[in-house]
């Protein structure tokens, strides 16, 4: 007895084992929050490394963080926050049955993400030129105190892993945008888009912590 017939849902939405759509949405959201918990703990490992080595080499960390491109970092933060807004707006438009506006917002978000990666690329090339690289490649003249290599190892590991997650986020939002254009989401069912949005908000939240720790203090 297929029950998608009621409620005009696109086919294949309601699983056979869920008694109602609301239950399935709640399950999807809970599952997504659990996945986000694993992402938070994944980054927690790197933050532990940051905390321990900042404790052991306070001057090196303070000195090195002054040699990072602060303006680019701040611009990146603004870019990501605004992209968070546009994703939230996309979900809002989808919930109020305006798929075209939702798709437009998603495209803007992906453009912001590309801008973020572009700025990151600029920063990385700057580091490659001034040889402020992690571990054994470290040959930065201005900062010679021990522990500096540790700072840049952490810098590249953290921002690198974050950049990977930005790319993954872009792919997820790409699928969401494709589905929105094909009318899969409406005020009745928009959970898929909401999950993509939650993932993007998490990527933004991680950067909100990365920015002050690496660039400012």
């Amino acid at each position: 007895m297929s029950h998608e017939a009621e409620a005009g849902l696109p086919p294949g939405i309601l699983g056979h084992h869920f008694s109602s759509l609301a239950r399935q949405n709640e399950a999807a959201r809970l599952g997504m929050w659990l996945f986000l918990a694993t992402e938070i703990l994944l980054f927690a490992g790197l933050f532990t490394g940051y905390a321990v080595y900042r404790f052991q080499f306070p001057e090196a960390f303070a000195e090195c963080s002054r040699h990072l491109e602060l303006t680019l970092g701040t611009v990146n933060t603004v870019v990501l926050i605004t992209s968070s807004l546009t994703v939230a707006l996309a979900i809002h438009f989808a919930r109020t049955n305006r798929p075209r506006a939702a798709a437009a917002c998603l495209v803007i978000t992906i453009l912001f993400a590309l801008a973020f990666l572009g700025i990151k690329a600029v920063e990385y090339t700057a580091h490659f030129h001034e040889k402020s690289l992690p571990g054994k490649y470290y040959a930065f003249e201005e900062v010679k105190i021990p522990g500096a290599a540790m700072f840049f190892s952490l810098y590249f590991l953290m921002t690198g892993l974050h950049a990977l997650h930005v790319i993954a986020g872009m792919i997820v939002l790409g699928f969401n945008c494709w589905h929105t254009l094909h009318g899969r989401y409406s005020s009745r069912y928009y959970t898929g888009l909401e999950l993509g949005g939650m993932y993007w908000h998490l990527v933004d939240m991680v950067w909100i912590f990365l920015y002050p720790l690496l660039y400012l203090i």
């Binding site: 001057e59 010679k144 105190i145 021990p146």
Partner: protein, 350 residues
């Protein structure tokens, strides 16, 4: 009783002051374990027999535990385990807080061999000689991977980490020869990285020590290899003097007390230096090593921060040698008592 239980549990000899106390706690723990597990086992077996299943459709009452039962189930193990812990932790703190008057030995673990260096005495490979009844503190570090210094008869063990000091102390009571094992996996030769602690009577130790100090190379244990911990001849202080000369320390630091570009080294060890930021620090190994590696960290009042960093320019043994050389520069030239180890930080943090 102690000997019987020790033999029954295959415990090695009790050759240090720790061994007897640790073994007493061991017997207490093993006995409570046996009592608890036999109690649980017997009740279970009693229930098997008493409540055998008589018919396939036998019904059983619905029984809920009373509050006092649950309290008992929680209370009894809680009391036993906390008792174990506090007995154990008191011993743990005693075992990892070296007394002030203990004799120092530097230990260097390297892939599959142990190297020992007595502060102003000889150095040797794989053989550590200690006087009986004397507190001995080992200041250990490793050249490559993590090893672990373990003497079963003394019931002591401490990992040896690269890039850091770790410390361990014991007081060997009965003279004899005891094996040193490496307890942390460190590669193909992990199982043959075995040394030997020879505990001598105090008098025998003094004879051996003085003969070594006279630099009788042939009587030295084991042939030091090219990659050796310290240059072949002479003791650590002489090496320290030679390294200080080579590295140019003596251009800025005098050894006779006169003020120069850098603070003088005479009577530096143990002095309370007033730093430029007003704080006061006691000069010990950690401060001296840090000042060599990171001169800008702490500047003595009235001196300019012009000293270059020696990070990477000096190997581990050379740094230790310079530190020993500074410690030997005391105005009351003849230093009687045993060498003081680094300042023992009190347990409650730095």
């Amino acid at each position: 009783m102690n000997e019987l239980l020790r033999r029954l549990l295959f415990l090695p000899e009790q050759a240090s002051t720790f061994a007897r106390d640790v073994d007493n706690l061991h017997y207490f723990v093993i006995l409570t374990t046996f009592v608890m597990s036999t109690a649980v086992g017997l009740t279970a077996i009693f229930f098997f027999i008493r409540y055998r299943r008589r018919s396939e459709t036998q019904t059983t009452p619905h029984i809920e535990p009373k509050a006092w039962m649950e309290a008992l189930f929680v209370g009894v193990p809680l009391i036993i385990f906390t008792a174990w812990f506090f007995l154990g932790y008191r011993e743990f703190v005693r075992q990892y807080t070296p007394p002030i008057d203990s004799m120092d030995v530097y230990v260097m673990g390297k892939k599959w061999m142990w190297k020992f260096a007595y502060p102003d005495g000889p150095n040797s490979i794989n053989v550590l000689r200690v006087p009986a009844g004397q507190n001995v503190r080992l200041l250990m570090t490793s050249r490559d991977v993590i090893h672990s210094f373990y003497v079963p008869e003394f019931r002591v063990k401490m990992d040896v980490l690269p890039g850091r000091y770790t410390q361990l102390w014991f007081n060997a009571t009965t003279p004899g020869r005891y094996q040193i094992f490496c307890a942390e996996y460190c590669g193909a030769g992990h199982s043959i990285m075995r040394g030997e602690v020879i505990v001598l009577k105090p008098q025998e130790y003094e004879d051996w020590y003085s003969s070594q100090k006279r630099g009788l190379a042939d009587r030295q244990d084991g042939q030091p290899t090219a990659l050796d911990f310290a240059p072949p001849l002479g003791n650590l202080v002489d090496q320290g003097k030679r390294v200080a000369a080579d590295q140019g320390c003596l251009k800025c630091h005098t050894t006779d007390g006169t003020r120069h570009i850098g603070p003088t080294w005479l009577d530096l060890y143990g002095r309370r230096e007033k730093l430029s930021d007003g704080s006061v620090v006691v000069v010990d190994e950690a401060y001296m090593t840090e000042s060599m590696m990171e001169p800008a960290a702490k500047i003595v009042e009235g001196f300019q921060p012009v000293m270059p960093s020696f990070q990477g320019k000096m190997t581990a043994p050379e740094t230790a040698a310079v530190v020993e050389f500074i410690k030997s520069l005391q105005s009351d030239a003849v230093r009687t008592g045993p060498s003081e180890g680094p300042a023992y930080a009190p347990i409650r943090g730095r």
